[in-house]
């Protein structure tokens, strides 16, 4: 079986949400000493991209996204040790600190974004829900994050997104991080008004945006 076919199978495993296949193909890649970066980009991430398209077309919904993200996670878990050994964790597209903003406990959407970012090659630190603003800032500094992603599901809690950006400015930290906001009541206008770097309408657009912003930063 040649490389191209294996890549195709890997992508398909993601699209089908077939965890066993994703894992066994990853093991095969290791055994065959394949180029791991290629395996990730042309195999698995190609699959995630297809999943994104299917979501946009209305074919795939939340369950499919979650299942595919889990497959990706499983495949990456198999490959990660080898990647690190070969100092190939420059495969990481960037470091992200993500969480649901202080006062808000909704996290399914945020979990999805975290999964998708991780599946697409980002290093994700998920702080959970109802995360105090201080904790976001502290963690972002500790982890030397590129991106801070803030989720809010209520019109009341989304006000804290603005507050976080203000605090960053007050401390002269604004330039260090790109801030992405999202959540049901959040809009592009709101993101612009509060001075965020971008607005992710759903997990897939969030990933696209994150890629652009991270690239700019580096």
């Amino acid at each position: 079986m040649n490389e191209a076919e294996l890549y195709k199978d890997m992508a398909q495993a993601i699209v089908d949400g077939n965890k066993e296949a994703a894992v066994s193909l990853a093991r095969e890649a290791l055994a065959k000493k394949m180029d791991l970066q290629g395996v990730i980009e042309k195999g698995y991430i190609a699959g995630i991209k297809k999943v994104g398209e299917l979501w946009e077309q209305g074919e795939y919904f939340l369950p499919e996204l979650i299942t595919s993200a889990e497959c990706m996670k499983a495949a990456l878990a198999v490959l990660k040790p080898m990647l690190e050994k070969a100092h190939l964790d420059a495969a990481s597209k960037g470091k992200v600190v993500i969480g649901t903003i202080e006062g808000d406990i909704h996290d399914i959407g945020k979990n999805l974004v975290a999964s998708m970012l991780s599946a697409n090659g980002f290093d994700v630190v998920d702080l959970g829900a109802d995360v105090k603003l201080e904790r976001f800032i502290q963690k972002a500094q500790d982890e030397q994050a590129d991106l801070i992603c803030l989720s809010a599901l209520l019109t009341t809690t989304m006000l804290n997104q603005r507050r976080l950006i203000e605090i960053l400015k007050e401390r002269g930290l604004r330039g260090r991080f790109k801030v992405l906001v999202g959540g049901a009541p959040v809009t592009k206008k709101w993101a612009a008004d509060i001075g965020a770097d971008g607005y992710g309408e759903n997990a897939l657009t969030a990933v696209k945006l994150a890629k652009d912003l991270a690239a700019k930063k580096r």
Partner: protein, 586 residues
Amino acid sequence: MTHTIKILPGGRVIKAASGTILADALHEAGFPISLYCGKMGLCGKCFVEIIRGGLPHPDSQEKIILERLLLANNYRLSCRYRISGSLMIRIPEESLLPQMPVLTQGVRRTIAIDPPAKKVALSLPRPDLSTPLALTDLIQSRFPGVSLKISAEALRVQAAFPEGPDMKMTAVVYKGSELTDIEPQDTTGRNFGLAVDLGTTTLVVELVDLNSGKTLDTEVGLNAQNRYGADVVSRIAAAYADPEKSRELKEVVVGALNEMIGRLLEKRHIPSNFVYEAVIAGNTAMNHLFLGLPVQTLAVSPYYALFSLLPALPAASTGLAINPRGKVYLAPNIKSFVGGDIAAGLAAADLASLPGNVLFIDLGTNGEIVLKKDRRFTATSTAAGPAFEGMNISCGMLALPGAIYKAEFRNKLHVRTISGRPALGVCGSGLIDLVAVFLKNGLISSQGQIQGPGKRIRVTKDIFLNQKDIRQMQLAAAAVKTGIRLLLAKSRLVSRDLDAVYVAGALGSTLNLYNSMALGLLPKCPEKKIFFIGNSSLAGARALLLSRAERSRCEKLVRRVRHLSLAEDALFQKTFIDALEFGAWS
């Protein structure tokens, strides 16, 4: 010889003598069967389904009608059917006189009429120079053994007392010990109260005679707060950000209620002074906004209320246009977003007295669910979203004339609209029917995908359901299903263990059980275990208005109800994601 007749939906059992015409028996029992042609067997509007019982051959006239209407052969015209044995029947909606589905009827069960607000006629000896007793002493002497709390307000009586040695007046006494008002002459025959359903979308006010317990009249209106947002969170956000808005929100809802109260009283020429108490059943946020209280604690996690139980408030302090010295009692909030409307609903259903394990579901925007397992009660709110009220659906609308509320597939799609008007859109129960029908006929997959190339499904010439609409339904149904599953799991029960399921809310009586179960909105359950109780919040408010015992039981129950926070449950995400798939479960 009498026979029993069990009537679905609802499960009510009535008795009737041999030889009685079924339509008459049903009418007697309060079922408004349509008898357009006067029981001549000509209009075919009174048919019922005979599920169990005698199936006499229809006469030729009836046969023609049954065939014309394409009815299955266990249907009969109730005006032609003579009862000769016990029966189980189903009355289809079509056979009842058209009704406005914004529910104003809840469970009717008998309670002893014992309202907190009572009137006592007094005849007091006129004081003279030798015994110039104060009025308050004279009155107190008529209530031995009770230390009456008399407010100065009550003493500001306008009218002069009539001539003669005796002073005739009526004392208004609250909870047997508080004198709130004094009226000249004997006015005990005029004692009124209000039961109020303080809904997010609609307000319902019932005028109740506190002597007879009868509901005299009802007003339904839209909650004018909706200009600040259709959902509670938007209103909370408005109030949270700006105290001025908070005051406006209170004024708007109190104003709307007062208009409705004004109309009710004017129709019957009842001065507002004769209305002594209003009981309000509203969800937690609505209760806070009604009282003009800060909503900060409801806006952010952990979403706690400022109050659960408050003593009855002086009416004047609330701004409600009843006797200013009267009382306004809010059904107590249970916890967080499970509010007084649910407490009232539980009172209406008398959940505390029901044996075994019972599930209570209020299908609406908040999707509150209460599970009783033996003597333990747990409640949660599922934030199902407004899909059940037709919102966020491309062709969605409230349950108003022109809304498709029912759909079935018989060779082709048949839909029914409220008041029979031409279809303008689809309301909650119609949406459930349509999605169930499409699922059954393969037009959508169980994952919710519309099959085939076109990305929408035709309902009528101008009305379509698109992919996004189906997704909204998935999310709303999944929310409720998750709430039910997690509550059952937490109580270590399975749906088979349920002895009864009570479904309340505007969707209640128009909800198609079979379709709800097919989608997974409700667990698979024998129909006889499911009871629609309509607007249980309103019925509960009425029960609390009319009975001190009911009020006390309600307050005790509320303290016992635990709250399950779905968002904090480790199983929530997985359960919710799995629940997105349409399908029956048990």
